[in-house]
């Protein structure tokens, strides 16, 4: 295990300490060591945006704390949901009286911990509404969408929710925008190598050299097929063949496309993949309003990439266009 760490059991603690120290302009610690908040949060009158999830997905989740983005994040162990207590403390850190939109991904642990935290928060008079991202198409069939996992589409959900809140939306408006964002979004991942959780010390699943796992999840959850590794052009095509018909995206749709590396895939390759995606999407009659290419939601040192497509309307475009300042997503004023 070729890692730059100290005690493998304490990587999350150690990382958090460095993160807060590196970004004092953007993030601050709270009384709960497993909760970070954005500098300036809670913002008076603004709906609080909260998310949370397991660690190992940099820049997700804490990298999206910031201006016009997320207000507080509950931090879990590597690939493990944060505790209910952490979610509760994140709600407290983000709430300025206007309520909290908890925008998170559909994983069993997160669902349970959010459920418990939300019960406690409401006893304290903090109103919490949730949007549960389920953009990962291969994780369940179309008629069981509620079972699908949340993946890199969460980044666009946070951008939209964060912007809608910053633009003065009420809790219901923020929730409606974030729900629309994720309902308009479809994703798929392709894995080329596994990754190793430091405390475990060996890969958490395996992919043979020369093979790829189509539809893999962010923690190595099973894909729809394991097949021989193909050229980027073919990978792009098979990814879009899964996600475009699912919404379905239709001729004339304006879309955002987000290509994220899973960690160790050189960013060069994400651009190669994006080029094919853009060509195929354009051929399918989609117009790309906003592309995002980079490491937006990773899985430690896994190799591979996820592709996310979101259908836009005027509200979603306005939300994506708003300036934002966070480690993972910075957009200057237009």
């Amino acid at each position: 295990m070729q890692r730059i760490i100290d005690d493998p059991a304490l990587v999350v603690e150690d990382m958090l300490q460095g993160f807060v120290r590196a970004h004092p302009d953007l993030v601050a610690a709270t009384d709960d060591p497993r909760v970070l908040r954005a500098v300036g949060a809670p913002v008076a009158g603004k709906v609080g945006i909260v998310t949370g999830g397991g660690s190992g997905h940099k820049p997700a989740f804490i990298g999206y704390l910031g201006r016009n983005m997320v207000d507080a994040v509950a931090v879990g162990e590597i690939f493990t949901s944060p505790s209910a207590a952490a979610f509760l403390n994140a709600f407290r850190a983000a709430d300025a009286g206007a309520g909290v939109a908890c925008l998170y991904g559909n994983y069993a642990g997160d669902n349970m911990n959010v459920k418990l935290a939300r019960r406690s928060a409401e006893k304290e008079g903090i109103r919490v509404e949730t949007v549960i991202a389920n953009d990962d198409v291969p994780s369940a069939p179309r008629d069981e969408r509620e079972k699908r996992r949340g993946v890199a589409g969460e980044v666009l959900m946070w951008k939209v929710g964060g912007a809608r809140a910053a633009l003065g939306g009420t809790l219901d408006e923020v929730i409606a925008a974030a729900q629309k964002a994720i309902d308009s979004t479809r994703s798929i991942g392709v894995g080329l190598t596994p990754c190793t959780i430091p405390a475990v010390g060996k890969p958490n699943f395996s992919i043979e050299p020369g093979m790829m796992e189509v539809g893999i999840g962010h923690h190595g959850e099973p894909g729809v097929s394991v097949e021989p590794l193909k050229p980027a052009r073919d990978i792009a095509r098979l990814m879009l063949e899964v996600i475009l018909p699912d919404l379905p995206f239709e001729r004339g749709d304006e879309v955002a496309i987000l290509v994220s590396g899973l960690g160790a895939t050189p960013v060069m390759e994400l651009y190669i993949l994006f080029d094919h995606l853009a060509t195929i999407a354009t051929e399918a009659g989609l117009s790309i309003y906003r592309p995002y290419v980079g490491n937006y939601f990773t899985s430690l040192e896994m190799m591979g990439a996820t592709v996310t497509v979101m259908r836009l309307d005027d509200e979603l475009k306005a939300c994506l266009d708003l300036e934002a300042d966070s480690v993972g997503l910075r957009q200057l004023p237009a």
Binding site: G76, E77, S81, S83, A85, G109, L116, I197, A199, F205
Partner: protein
């Protein structure tokens, strides 16, 4: 008819220590079992939470407070699915014996039932899904049945330990339908489920420590 057996609720620390110790002692084994079809961290997660919980307990604690504190610590500290499931399990078990001076067989039956209910409610899994429920549910039922058939508290505790072992072993032949191991489909057959194994360890420790406390009563 033998006189109803019981032990003082104030001896909670003995039970909690037994629970923590078995997780601490078997952490590597649990991770290894989880590694076969899961992500290999079950022992790490559990040990971290259980050791933190023990550190928060006073030297002497009644069973209800001890279990509630343990449950709260798991809820607060370990996250994942295990935090809320085992956390709520122990919180509910503690709640079911709150305020009692002495713990008898009927109380333990109520405790198991309460714990089982919250795990089923929160986790939405079923017996046969290859989870800790495959240990918990048949064990709670076997314990209750043996009491109903007139077994003594200590005899029922032995039934509990045996049922937990059978429940754990039953997961070997199951295909995982929830959690990470469901990744493997048919390939998840043939090995134990990690959560079912930790649940067996916990219920066995529970039974053994309570039997110890009963024996001390003479």
């Amino acid at each position: 008819m033998i006189p109803s057996q019981s032990f003082p609720a104030s001896q909670g620390r003995v039970v909690i220590d037994a629970l923590v110790t078995t997780i601490d002692d078997h952490a590597a084994m649990l991770s290894e079992i989880d590694g076969a079809i899961g992500d290999g961290d079950h022992g790490i997660n559990m040990r971290k939470g259980f050791l933190m919980a023990r550190d928060e307990l006073p030297g002497q604690v009644d069973l209800s407070t001890g279990l509630t504190t343990l449950g709260d610590a798991l809820l607060t500290r370990i996250g994942g699915a295990m935090g809320p499931l085992y956390g709520s399990f122990f919180v509910e078990m503690g709640g079911a014996c709150a305020g009692l001076e002495r713990i008898d067989g009927t109380t333990v039956g109520r405790m198991l039932a309460a714990g089982r209910a919250v795990v089923e409610d929160l986790g939405e899994a079923r017996v046969g899904d290859k989870t800790l429920l495959d240990t918990l549910v048949p064990t709670a039922e076997a314990y209750q049945a043996s009491l109903a058939e007139g077994a003594s508290f200590s005899a029922a505790l032995s039934v509990m330990a045996e049922a937990a072992e059978r429940g754990k072993e039953s997961t070997r032949e199951l295909v995982a339908r929830v959690g990470r191991a469901s990744r493997l489909g048919e390939r998840s057959r043939g090995v134990l489920d990690a959560g079912a194994t930790s649940c067996w360890l916990l219920l066995t420790a529970l039974a053994a420590s309570m039997n110890e406390l009963l024996a001390a009563e003479g």
